[in-house]
């Protein structure tokens, strides 16, 4: 900071490090900057003037609407990365159950799985006709809100495919990799997770499914509610058939792929017990701490302005609420809003 002391306005305007400081400061830099300004009131005027100019001058953006961009990218992919003879990695989910046992699907899944899982990289979201496929190429978990208000915390290296609009009778998603689900309750519209050789059926609950291509086994762990687990080939067309097993909270089932055997046990994982959920207690809680706790618990990034939310507290019992419900409740209480973009939650509020 000291080096800017003798800079003229013009020098500041075209200085790389200064522009970076203004346009993309780290939180530490932002703090240091404010402190510096407070201590150098004589130079502050030039500094602030340069800051205003750098922030305000822009060029015409020529932005392509997101829909057009996705469409254009889709066209590129269909001529390159998705061109090979196999044009069918995305089977419509509605027919998924009917052909569940067929070889084609398994082959298709393996191809998607391979392609999606090989590399952790950026984030791709593609809208293909009726299905949405999302892959987490980053190194942190990503939050996805489904149209029915359910939340999926997609773990790194995982892919989830779901229809743009769910069926009237059932909600179906297809998972490769690992995800934690918090499903909004709707007994008339059961929720199915199709993953590898397993199908998990729930009515409204939270649970984790781990089904990486490379793993020897598939694991389903239940946090709350009841879930029914099926082997893929055990549920032909009738989904009301008896399940392989019913899991209660804090139970898990491990399906071994090789011999189709399974083992049920209690989750040793204290991660899933509600006590360790820091948002669970009924007390006046600092909002920033709540967000931090949720971030840790779900592994999802929650971005908020620490300074602005410093004085925000809520008095609420959040026990048993799902992540999206907690976010709704807290934001309502402190008059803030939130957005989910690329798997990350951003809280927008002016503070309390």
């Amino acid at each position: 900071m000291e080096k800017y002391l003798n800079y003229t306005l013009e020098q500041l305007l075209w200085d790389d490090s200064f522009r970076k400081l203004i346009l993309h400061p780290t939180p530490e830099q932002e703090l240091a900057k404010n402190k510096w300004l407070a201590n150098h009131q004589d130079q502050a005027e030039v500094f602030l003037e340069a800051q205003d100019i750098i922030r305000a001058v822009k060029t015409d953006k020529n932005q392509l609407p997101e829909r057009d961009r996705l469409e254009a990218m889709e066209q590129i992919f269909s001529n390159t990365s998705r061109k090979p003879v196999l044009q069918a990695p995305m089977l419509p989910l509605t027919t998924l159950m009917r052909v569940a046992a067929s070889v084609i699907l398994v082959a298709g899944l393996m191809i998607v799985g391979k392609r999606m899982l090989n590399v952790p990289s950026g984030f791709i979201q593609t809208a293909k006709s009726e299905n949405i496929s999302q892959t987490n190429h980053s190194r942190v978990a990503q939050l996805i809100r489904l149209e029915d208000g359910s939340a999926v915390v997609l773990k790194p290296g995982s892919n989830i495919t779901f229809p743009k609009h769910f069926d009237k009778q059932k909600r179906l998603v297809q998972l490769t990799g690992e995800a934690f689900f918090e499903i909004s309750r709707n007994p008339n519209r059961p929720f199915f997770v199709y993953a590898g050789k397993s199908v998990t059926k729930v009515l409204g609950t939270s649970f984790n499914v781990r089904a990486f291509e490379a793993d020897d086994a598939i694991t389903v762990k239940v946090k709350t509610g009841k879930v029914a687990v099926y082997f893929e080939d055990k549920i032909p067309e009738n989904l009301e058939k008896p399940a392989l097993n019913i899991l209660e909270p804090n139970e898990q089932i491990i399906l071994t792929k090789q011999d189709n055997s399974f083992r049920k046990s209690n989750t040793d994982d204290s991660f899933y017990s509600e006590n360790t959920n820091p948002t669970g207690q009924q007390a006046e809680r600092n909002v920033a701490e709540l967000f931090k706790g949720m971030q840790k618990f779900y592994g999802v990034q929650i971005e908020f302005d620490t300074q602005k939310l410093r004085n925000c507290t809520v008095l609420a019992n959040l026990t048993g609420l799902h992540l999206l419900e907690k976010l709704d409740a807290i934001c309502l209480a402190i008059n803030a809003t939130y957005t989910i973009h690329r798997g990350k939650v951003t809280i927008n509020g002016d503070g309390c």
């Binding site: 306005l9 013009e10 305007l13 075209w14 522009r19 602030l48 003037e49 800051q51 205003d52 100019i53 922030r55 305000a56 001058v57 822009k58 060029t59 015409d60 953006k61 020529n62 932005q63 392509l64 961009r69 254009a72 990218m73 066209q75 590129i76 992919f77 001529n79 390159t80 990365s81 392609r115 999606m116 090989n118 590399v119 952790p120 990289s121 950026g122 984030f123 791709i124 979201q125 593609t126 892959t135 190429h137 980053s138 190194r139 942190v140 990034q301 690329r342 990350k344």
Partner: protein
């Protein structure tokens, strides 16, 4: 901070045969390429076509691509060349003369970003001056300060030497400094005249 891979890392993975990395690369660079391409023509379909051509070409040549190039500069320069070629053909058809550079952009002001009332005047001034720059100087300023590219990357994109990039920048600064000083002092004189 999201720990996503950089464009360079994606490039390496893509050349190593990873198609998901290719898709991620398209995803992260598409908006930027579109933005830059649109500065040369108002025909948005042409821009999209050219971007597609660039990526199809990159995909087909993936076996023989260089791992160690600055990715963004490489993509932007390929795009620039393609658009120029296409627009040139169009212009020949129309029998119009070809301008030296096609780059066109308008610098403007985002009022909401200005905190201090006093800055408004200066910001307007500098924006006006930026818009008075010749096309190629504008392009260098745009790439340097609005796309955060360095001297050698800009040279690669515009097909000129790094020294020319520096010259363009110096010229622009010089122009702004001179006009700025004279205009500010003129308006100050007027202001004082009014006072006394």
């Amino acid at each position: 901070m999201a720990a996503s891979l950089s464009e360079e890392e994606l490039w390496h993975l893509f050349i190593a045969g990873d198609s998901a990395a290719f898709e991620a690369l398209v995803d992260t660079t598409y908006a930027l390429m579109y933005q830059y391409g649109s500065k040369f023509t108002r025909n948005t379909d042409l821009v999209k076509d050219c971007i597609q051509d660039v990526f199809l070409n990159v995909w087909e040549k993936r076996q023989s691509l260089n791992r160690a190039i600055p990715v963004r500069a490489y993509l932007l320069s390929s795009l620039r060349r393609r658009i120029h070629r296409k627009v040139k053909y169009d212009l020949i058809d129309l029998q119009t003369s070809l301008p030296e550079s096609l780059f066109e952009t308008v610098f403007s002001i985002e009022d909401s970003m200005i905190v201090r009332e006093e800055s408004v005047f200066l910001t307007r001034k500098i924006t006006t001056l930026l818009n008075e720059l010749p096309q190629r100087q504008k392009e260098v300023i745009y790439l340097r300060f609005f796309q955060d590219l360095d001297r050698s990357e800009i040279a690669e994109i515009m097909q000129i030497t790094p020294q020319s990039v520096s010259n363009f920048l110096q010229k622009s600064f010089h122009f702004i400094r001179n006009s700025w000083v004279s205009k500010v002092s003129v308006s100050l004189t007027v202001f004082f005249d009014y006072l006394f």
